[in-house]
Amino acid sequence: MPVAKILRLPLRLAVHACSGLVEPLRALARHRSLFLLLLRRDLADRTSGTVLGFSWLLVQPALQMLAFWFLLELVLQVRFPGRIGFLDYFLVGMLPWLLISEAVMRSTAVLNDLSSLYSRMAFPIVLLPLLPLVMAGAIFGMVYIVLVGLLAGPLAALYAPLIIAALLLWLLPLAYLLSVVGLFVRDFRQFLPFVLTMFMYLTPFLYMPQMLPEAMQPFMVLNPLADILAVVHHLILGLPVTAGNWIRPWLLWLVLLGPAWVIFYRAQPHMREAL
């Protein structure tokens, strides 16, 4: 009996992975006008009472990059060996990283922050984890396209929206998983900034992977973000990439998709009580 169960596991995983991909998209299609209003509500939340209003969403990442440019280019004058300029390398990797960390950060909080929507009303909760994803994609996507166009030319700029779209798709199971974890295990949100900082140091966009000590190199395969950034750097700056860089993140994605959806689905009835 257990053998049969184990044999059926890949099949179940595949079925749930399909639902994990299809169900959120179907909900999005069904409630698209509601989702647009939620986006507006989110925008209103973040920028209400400011003079610049919605522009802050673009000005903020721009200022962040300006600060890094000031520190790294003007003050520290970091230089890479070879033909790639450090600043180009850094900025091309920095923005996807900002998108990921923003989406992760907000995913863990979204079910709490927007609890007023569903705590006392019937509401399609399945939409909520999509909100930080689409929001992060919209904010950083626009900046990224402009930036890549400036750094690597208009042809490379065509890759930017594709990269953003692929990133969002990759983050989908993570968003559902983290939204549940963030709601039920509050401690996780206290711990998360540390995790994100560690990932920031362990993911090569402040340095090139080759600059890591020899002993550290093999461990890079454990960090899917390192793979993702290697692909991004390859697509836009033409840096070398391995097949593993392409495959590993999507393998992880495939494995996560089903369980993340099942956990979210099962947690749904308990969400109001967890508040």
Binding site: L37, S48, S119, R272
Partner: protein, 419 residues
């Protein structure tokens, strides 16, 4: 066909003493939580067009039941089916976002209710019109007064005729004209044959409005049947030690007089009729015993005359309201009542819109004890309460004989009795 069908539906709240207890329970398999049963498994079927009232003490599980029906709570067990569009007036405006404009909130709420943008477009004008706040639709709702907020929320929640309407406590929202308008809208749903499920502490409203009542006690259905029967049983229960003081705080008898209207009823009665602002309100109420007017009065059984004088003003455009007087015991149990509607007395109003009536109880037959006088100003159908003056006066009855009980009924002796 049942519109609402519950089979073995129950609700248990689980409480973990410590955050890690949930984890410990998973790992060790030992129970580490406390359970609170809000609703024991119950069966309930409601047919289309039924108006069901739910009565019960606070914490009996009424709200839990309503939330289950509104789908804002998941049952812990059993099967729950509600057919058709459900509109719940449970917590109005709970989904409104303070930073967004009234307009955007209408669209947001509409979308949550499952309406498309085009459908909300079509309904938008009627929603704004009903709420009567057209000038403020561009403002963020955080700037709304609480009255405006609840008006808009009610207007949105009821913009589409639901198949099932779930109402908690209040049959009307807001104040003045809007209270009447919102009440009328709910009545329209009733007349249109919609199913209404509502819980109320007002036994009178339940009896006046519902075909059927369900009495929930400690998470179980204690009685389910014709409203008059269930209400009578519940009212009887309120007089027993288990139910005593459930409605009225224990110390409410201490001469406390409360009028729910913002400004107190003027003692001298010199109040100008408010033109059009409110559809009806009390101007003056007076309780008199044998020529003595006051808040705390002494009476003697079968000797004293109790008179209640009520002066109110009403909008000439609306039908003349009705009034009712209720005598309650200090535990909140209703002893007796009299209403102009029930007595089929049509009240008249003068050219200023003022009506003044006196209700007398000659040689009051109440036996010794303390009682409170409550006055209600109601709509012409006697359901919607414009204003209430709860425990406006306390009367202390003393008696001469040893007759037991609360009331002395007319009686005769016959047979071997000296005449």
């Amino acid at each position: 066909m049942s519109v609402i069908a519950l089979r073995g539906v129950g609700k248990t709240y689980v409480h973990y003493e410590h955050v890690l207890d949930r984890l410990r329970e998973v790992v060790t398999g030992r129970r580490c939580h406390r359970e609170h049963v809000a609703l024991h498994p119950l069966d309930l079927a409601v047919e289309a067009g039924e108006v069901v009232g739910v009565v019960g003490l606070n914490g009996a599980g009424k709200s839990t039941l309503l939330k289950l029906l509104a789908n804002t709570l998941q049952p812990s067990m059993g099967r729950l089916e509600v057919r058709g569009r459900v509109s719940a007036l449970l917590e109005l405006g709970a989904g409104f976002h303070p930073e967004m404009s009234g307009r955007d909130n209408v669209y947001l709420s509409g979308a949550v209710m499952g309406l498309t943008r085009e459908q909300v477009d079509a309904l938008y004008d009627s929603i704004v019109d009903f709420a009567g706040i057209a000038d403020f639709m561009g403002e963020p709702v955080k700037n709304y007064s609480s009255g405006m907020f609840v008006r808009l929320a009610f207007s949105v929640a009821t913009c589409v005729t639901p198949d099932v309407l779930i109402v908690d406590e209040a049959l009307s929202v807001g104040d003045g004209i809007f209270a009447r308008k919102s009440f009328d809208r709910i009545m329209q749903f009733k007349q249109a044959g919609k199913t209404i499920f509502f819980c109320s502490h007002s036994l009178y409203q339940v009896e006046a409005l519902c075909d059927r009542a369900v009495w929930i006690h400690e998470g179980r259905v204690r009685e389910d049947g014709p409203a008059s029967v269930v209400v009578a049983a519940y009212n009887g229960f309120l007089g027993t030690p288990g139910g005593a003081g459930a409605i009225v705080p224990a110390d409410a008898g201490a001469g406390a007089a409360a009028v729910t209207h913002a400004d107190p009823v003027a003692a001298d009665g010199a109040v100008q009729p408010a033109p059009g602002a409110i559809t009806a309100r009390l101007l003056k109420v007076e309780v008199e015993v044998d020529g003595v007017v006051g808040r705390r009065l002494q009476l003697t059984t079968h000797r004293s005359n109790l008179a209640v004088r009520i002066r109110f003003v009403s909008d000439a455009a609306s039908p003349v309201p009705t009034v009712a007087v209720a005598l309650t015991g200090t535990d909140g149990r209703m002893i007796t009542s009299a209403g102009s509607l029930n007595d089929q007395r049509q009240l008249l109003r003068d050219t200023n819109g003022v009506t003044e009536v006196t209700l007398s109880f000659p040689r009051l037959a109440l036996l010794k004890g303390r009682y409170a006088v409550n006055i209600y100003l109601l709509c012409e159908r006697g359901i919607h309460c414009y204003e209430e003056a709860a425990q406006i006066a306390e009367i202390e009855v003393s008696q001469e004989g040893l007759e037991q009980g609360v009331v002395s009924l007319p009686h005769e002796w016959a047979g071997s009795v000296e005449s």
